[in-house]
């Protein structure tokens, strides 16, 4: 058992290191980018990868490497922001529903059920289509359904602990519902909901890149991996690197964050 836990801990550390590297790259992409990611150059159109342009150039002569780096910031930051906001909304709604129950619980959970009745991407495409293009619209479109998974999880954990003797003891000590939720329920349900948030990062990234790929997310010329793939697929046969590198960046980032989520979940389950 100890050996298994040590192995799982090692997995978590490896995943954290890789995720941290990606976050650092995204944070310092402005410094790390060797060229201006938005500067077009008609003499450098669709240049193959070289020492000067590590990932080659695109249809407008822009440095793909610099755009992939800047795109990391857009993709990772928007994903983190969306997951964080959905997490906060979900945990608050879930706690309120689980703790107080009644009509508020009925209404909010039926709304959540309604959201979950359709595939997330279908709802997101419909909402993003209504809202028009732009990263903000794409985030709202994905966030509309995303909070529900956090809310349901937070609610079920709240239900499982709200009748614990220590909650009754806190009530007998004169604590209000809000105080109990902040002091006892939130800290005790935070971990499983947080692990769920980690596992959602990959899915959210696919969602944001997917909407950008469909032209419902980031608007040109802003660099974002999904929109870069979408732009470059028109000339994939003559400049495959313009698709390959942003696609590889997307896959690697999603794999790393999914791996991190799974590793943390398995480690906690083992504990």
């Amino acid at each position: 058992m100890k050996k298994k836990k040590a192995k799982l801990r090692k997995r978590v550390i490896i995943a954290v290191v890789f995720a941290a590297i990606l976050v650092l790259i995204a944070t310092f992409s402005g410094v790390l980018a060797p060229n201006d990611p938005y500067a077009t150059n008609s003499e450098l159109i669709r240049q193959a990868p070289s020492a000067a342009y590590l990932f080659g150039t695109d249809n407008l002569g822009r440095c793909v490497f610099s755009r992939v780096l800047i795109g990391a910031r857009t993709t990772i930051a928007s994903t983190f922001f969306l997951v964080a906001v959905s997490f906060l909304i979900g945990i608050v709604v879930g706690m309120l529903c689980g703790f107080y129950g009644g009509i508020v619980d009925d209404i909010l959970m039926r709304i959540a059920d309604l959201m979950l009745a359709f595939p997330q991407m279908v709802v997101a495409i419909a909402v993003a289509g209504i809202l028009g293009g732009g990263l903000g619209g794409a985030m709202i479109a994905l966030g509309i359904t995303m909070w529900t998974s956090f809310a349901r999880l937070a609610r079920s954990h709240t239900l499982s602990i709200k009748n614990e003797p220590y909650i009754t003891a806190a009530r007998l000590q004169g604590k209000s519902g809000l105080q109990i939720m902040m002091t006892h329920i939130m800290p005790n349900i935070l971990e499983p909901v947080l692990i769920n948030a980690l596992t959602q990062i990959g899915t959210t990234m696919i969602g944001i890149s997917g909407l950008s790929f469909l032209g419902l997310g980031v608007v040109a010329p802003q660099a974002e991996w999904g929109s870069m793939i979408s732009e470059a697929r028109a000339y994939i046969q003559i400049a495959p690197w313009a698709v390959l590198f942003p696609a590889a960046a997307t896959v690697i980032t999603i794999v790393v964050f999914n791996y991190l989520g799974d590793a943390v979940m398995e480690y906690r389950n083992a504990e």
Partner: protein
């Protein structure tokens, strides 16, 4: 002087086509400094009665009084001012993520000196205050529960099967502690237990419950020597047989 009383308490749980009535026309009285024992088998309604008395659950009908003043329908946030509960699951009665000191301070404005005095009174030491519940023994945890109740200065302790999860030696220590506290602080205690032998040893009065009905109620010696119901007689016989 009657510190706590209940008149004609009724409670019913309805679950689809089935209904259970754990409390049926229950009356009780608890005097100052008295230990009232409530005994009965599982499902007799004794724990429900404690929940109703403490305000965790509301009775369907009937009234509850503290020092002659009605408090029916008040939740534990209010009843906690005059009563506290000691739970069967001592570990579960403390937040697993909190240190003992933080848990004890939660409902009390008392100084650290006072906390140290009270934990000393229940036979614990300062070194345990920094620990989380899982790092304490069952007996230590139960003593901490008693300390928490004492720090809230409640006049009534509701004890729900508090010794059933403890080993025999620790059971005796916790019961001795309760008796000492009762004598010293003049606290009134309601002791719910399925153990008639234990209850008859330490309680001033006994209430025997069966299927939500009080079938015997009176001075311990009288209930033991002249039980008025067959059920109490059978309970007594089972103790003697064991």
């Amino acid at each position: 002087m009657t510190i706590l009383s209940g008149k004609d308490l009724n409670k019913e749980y309805v679950n689809r086509d089935r209904s259970v009535r754990p409390l049926q026309h229950v009356d009780f009285e608890l005097n100052q400094g008295e230990i009232l024992g409530i005994v009965g088998e599982s499902g007799s309604g004794k724990s429900t009665l404690l929940k109703v008395i403490s305000g965790i659950e509301k009775p369907d009908s009937g009234k509850l009084y503290h020092m002659g003043k009605e408090y029916t329908g008040q939740g534990p946030e209010k009843t906690g001012k005059f009563l506290q509960m000691i739970f069967q699951d001592a570990y579960g009665s403390f937040d697993p993520r909190m240190s003992m000191e933080r848990s004890l301070k939660e409902g009390s404005d008392e100084s650290r000196e006072e906390i140290l005095r009270v934990i000393g009174e229940v036979g614990l030491t300062e070194g345990l205050l920094g620990r989380r519940p899982r790092h304490l023994s069952g007996g230590q945890c139960q003593r901490m529960s008693i300390a928490r109740a004492l720090l809230s200065h409640a006049g009534v302790l509701l004890c729900d099967e508090i010794t059933s999860a403890l080993d025999v030696t620790t059971q005796a220590q916790v019961i001795k502690l309760l008796m000492e506290i009762r004598d010293k602080e003049r606290i009134s205690i309601v002791l719910v237990s399925h153990d008639l032998a234990l209850v008859s040893m330490i309680c001033d009065r006994i209430m025997v419950m069966k299927d939500g009905i009080v079938v015997d109620n009176g001075e311990t010696a009288k209930v033991i020597s002249e039980p008025s119901s067959d059920y109490t007689r059978k309970l007594l016989e089972s103790v003697i047989t064991v």
